[in-house]
């Protein structure tokens, strides 16, 4: 009965989505207030029904209702309760339902925080989001219904993929989806602005907090996914340039460009068509990611279930949504005007240059991701693009962007004199260069690449510190009041940029100084990974709730002092017979000690992976800082001064200057 309620709730949600997607747009076009007024209640009702559907599916999982096909395929009565819950999005159908739920949550939030918007704008934004929702609800109901029955019921479920039985996997997909789907708000705002012909500073100010919020979640989601791969896949890598990873990284890159471009549009009224295009691109890449993952046209470590019928559906949906929005762009954008002028050396230029670099990098990553598909489609054979391609292309494109990132905040809008800029920043550059050259020497090994990576990171930190210092020293009052007087969005930028620097330090040091050793370890034997020594104390069998494990014991010594006792596991899951490596990690601020069991050998010996990863956690620490910076920026009061933002139209003044 419960699954039928869920199914029915989805149908009702679809009806409401149709109402939400059609009437308000007609209303806005023909200026009928009663049609536009439908948008909010329809969106809120749609959220309620999607939430009911989701709750029904979650209930079916928690109650082990194996008469539901999706539950029978993705759960098992031995599965612990928290994983039975996360199994809701462990397969295709549930992932799509989660996608839809996330979209309806974002839509709900827009209905709640859009009271200050002009009615036509709000109606158009909600209408566009309704159209997207129609697509996903149709997709769910037509080709991926999670409530499909299996009669008579299965006695036992097939179980969740053991890789997904992990706390990281409980939260990673929802966070990532919140980020992915969040770009739909920026997209809806952009389309609404195009339809209304109102691409101005107010529009940019409205979309900014939404875009930043989506970006914050996407950042955290990607970081969680990378952390999950690091400890769960058992070979210590944290980024593989796998198609599915790229699918989440591409919207992030464009989203980052969008955040900066929106800032220019809000402050200066420039880059308007560029910003709109980025908003369309960010969401299109989110949809594209869904297509790539769900259709199976690209295979990757993540591809667990693929179905060509679904691929066709998403492709048609993708064509309609992106095609229509790009046509709308081509039709309306030429009329929006160029906005304020700026000199060759100005903050606008720096931001534009960074934007272009980010986009070119996006293009290069996209090309590498899709290249095997192109070659296959042209019948030129099967190929794969190795991860070194991405490193070789991405890093040279990002290095100048990082360099500009240090300068940008010091440049003035409209016009900046280059010699003055150089004079202000020469000390920061000197400090960064000197420490980047010297620091590797204290860490044991000097290579140009390590120094270069550190130079970029220290450059960002040095310019950031100098920027904060000069800003605070120009503000009167006590230290506390000086800090409080700066706007949260300014602090947000500083924190996020610091996050980038921390991230770069992590990547540089772990790439430069990590030690990875795959060794055969007999009972009591030791392996030295400077300055640590790992001793193998054997492996014992141990039973888990739905698996049988070998649990190894490895003691780690430093200067003959025990620093950690690690228990890596090799699990064998009953229901699927799949073997899983559970790495044991001793986490520290300056290093991780990483041990994973390979295979049992003769006489109680095992092959073991023994890794020493210096500063690896800085990678995720940097991501957390970036997200924190984003949160600070959203908290800026400016976005809540509704009256002013709705009435004032700074664009007019900007354009009269132009």
């Amino acid at each position: 009965m419960i699954p039928e309620i869920g199914h029915f709730a989805l149908i009702l949600a679809l009806i409401l989505a149709l109402v939400q997607g059609i009437l308000p747009l007609i209303g806005a076009a023909t200026n009928q207030a009663n049609f536009m007024a439908v948008a909010r209640p329809a969106a809120q009702g749609q959220f309620v029904f999607v939430a009911i559907a989701f709750a029904c599916l979650a209930y079916a999982f928690l109650a082990n209702d194996f008469s539901v096909k999706y539950v029978a395929t993705n759960s098992n009565s031995l599965l612990p309760a928290q994983y039975r819950f996360s199994a809701v999005w462990g397969g295709h159908e549930g992932s799509i339902l989660l996608w839809t739920l996330t979209l309806s949550v974002w839509t709900l939030l827009v209905t709640l925080f859009s009271r200050h918007l002009p009615q036509a704008m709000a109606a158009r934004v909600l209408g566009v989001m309704g159209l997207i929702s129609i697509g996903f609800l149709l997709f769910t109901l037509m080709v991926s219904n999670p409530f499909e029955r299996l009669l008579p019921a299965a006695l036992e479920g097939r179980d969740l993929n053991p890789l997904l039985q992990d706390p990281g996997m409980v939260i990673h997909p929802p966070i990532l989806y919140i980020g992915y789907v969040g770009f739909s708000v920026a997209f809806a705002f952009a389309l609404a602005a195009l339809m209304g012909g109102r691409l101005d500073a107010a529009w940019a100010r409205w979309s900014r907090p939404w875009t930043t919020a989506a970006w914050v979640f996407l950042t955290l989601g990607i970081a969680l996914g990378s952390g999950w791969a690091y400890y769960e896949l058992g070979w210590g890598g944290w980024w593989f340039w796998d198609p599915v990873e790229n699918a989440s990284f591409l919207p992030w890159l464009v989203g980052t460009a969008l955040i900066h471009s929106l800032a220019v549009t809000e402050k200066r009224g420039t880059f308007k068509s560029w910003t709109v295009l980025l908003a369309i691109a960010a969401f299109s890449l989110s949809l594209l990611g869904t297509f790539l993952v769900r259709s199976g046209v690209l295979t990757s470590v993540h591809a667990f279930a693929t179905d060509p019928k679904r691929g066709v559906f998403i492709l048609i949906f993708l064509t309609i949504v992106i095609g229509a929005s790009l046509l709308l762009f081509a039709w309306r954008a030429p009329k929006v005007g160029l906005g304020g002028k700026f000199a060759l050396i100005s903050r606008e230029t720096f931001l534009l240059a960074n934007n272009v670099l980010l986009l070119v990098a996006t293009g290069a990553v996209l090309l590498g991701t899709l290249y095997p598909l192109f070659i296959d489609a042209l019948d030129l054979g099967k190929i794969s693009v190795g991860p070194p391609y991405f490193d070789a292309v991405f890093l040279p494109l990002m290095a100048p962007a990082i360099f500009l990132m240090g300068i940008g905040p010091f440049a003035r809008w409209k016009e900046q004199s280059l010699p003055e800029l150089a004079k202000r920043l020469k000390w920061a550059f000197g400090v960064a260069l000197l420490s980047a050259l010297l620091m590797p020497l204290t860490l044991g090994k000097w290579t140009p690449l390590i120094s270069f990576g550190l130079l970029l990171a220290f450059w960002v930190i040095a310019t950031g510190v100098y920027g904060v210092w000069s800003r605070l020293s120009q503000t009167p009052g006590t230290m506390m009041s000086r800090i409080a007087k700066q706007s949260p969005s300014w602090w947000g930028m500083q924190v996020a940029h610091l996050g980038i620097a921390i991230f770069i330090i992590g990547v540089t040091l772990v790439k430069g100084y990590e030690t990875e050793r795959d060794v055969r370890m007999a009972l009591g034997s030791a392996v030295a990974v400077h300055p640590y020594s790992f001793t193998f104390r054997g492996a014992k069998p141990q039973a888990g709730p739905n698996y049988q494990a070998w649990v190894g014991t490895v003691e780690v010594f430093k200067n003959d002092k025990l620093v950690a006792t690690l228990h890596p596991e090799k699990r064998n899951y009953f229901s699927t017979g799949m073997a899983m490596t559970e790495a044991a990690i001793d986490t520290g601020i300056t290093r991780d000690l990483y041990v994973a069991l390979g295979e049992p050998l003769e006489n109680g010996a095992w092959s073991v992976r023994v890794y020493h990863k210096p500063f690896v956690d800085w990678i995720w620490g940097g991501c957390v800082l970036m997200a924190l910076g984003g949160l600070l920026a959203i908290s800026d009061r400016r976005y809540r001064l509704h009256q002013r933002s709705a009435n004032a139209s700074p664009t007019l003044t900007v354009e009269s200057q132009a």
Binding site: N161, L163, G234, T299, V301, H302, A303, F304, L344, V356, L357, V360, G363, A364, L367, G368, Y371, G381, K382, I383, S384, V385, G386, P387, P388, Y389, A392, V393, P396, L397, D518, V519, R520, T576, G577, M578, A579, M580, T581, G598, E599, L601, A605, S607, R609
Partner: protein, 152 residues
Amino acid sequence: MKPRHKKLLWVLGSLSLLGVATWLVLNALDKNLNYFYSPTQVANHEAPSNRSFRLGGLVVDGSLKRQTDGLTVEFVVTDTASNIPVRYKGILPDLFKEGKSVVAQGKLGADGHFVADQVLAKHDENYMPPEAAKALEDARKINANAGKAPQP
């Protein structure tokens, strides 16, 4: 600066960025494209001898041998038409099993062995890597054309 010069600078700037990016992409693609070859193609000397490529197929039952260091393994990959011995030093992925599909990346060694520096496993039991599937499919076609039933 005159607007005309400014425009020229912009165009030059974007063109040079585009040029650099294109060069980067082409250069990196050229070095990092991994072509895929089936055991039959390797047996017919169609695979490059000095370049890394991917080999896919099934691990022959009972072919897995471990050397005394416990880390160097040898196994035979087949597409049911030809067999290629593979050598790999390292820990095999969890889903590596005899009789199952496998994709290995590496180079041909002087002794005719395929020396793998990476053995790829997919994270689902019932999923066959497309390269491996294609190798089996091609071999089946060859067998079919030769007018004989596929040999296991």
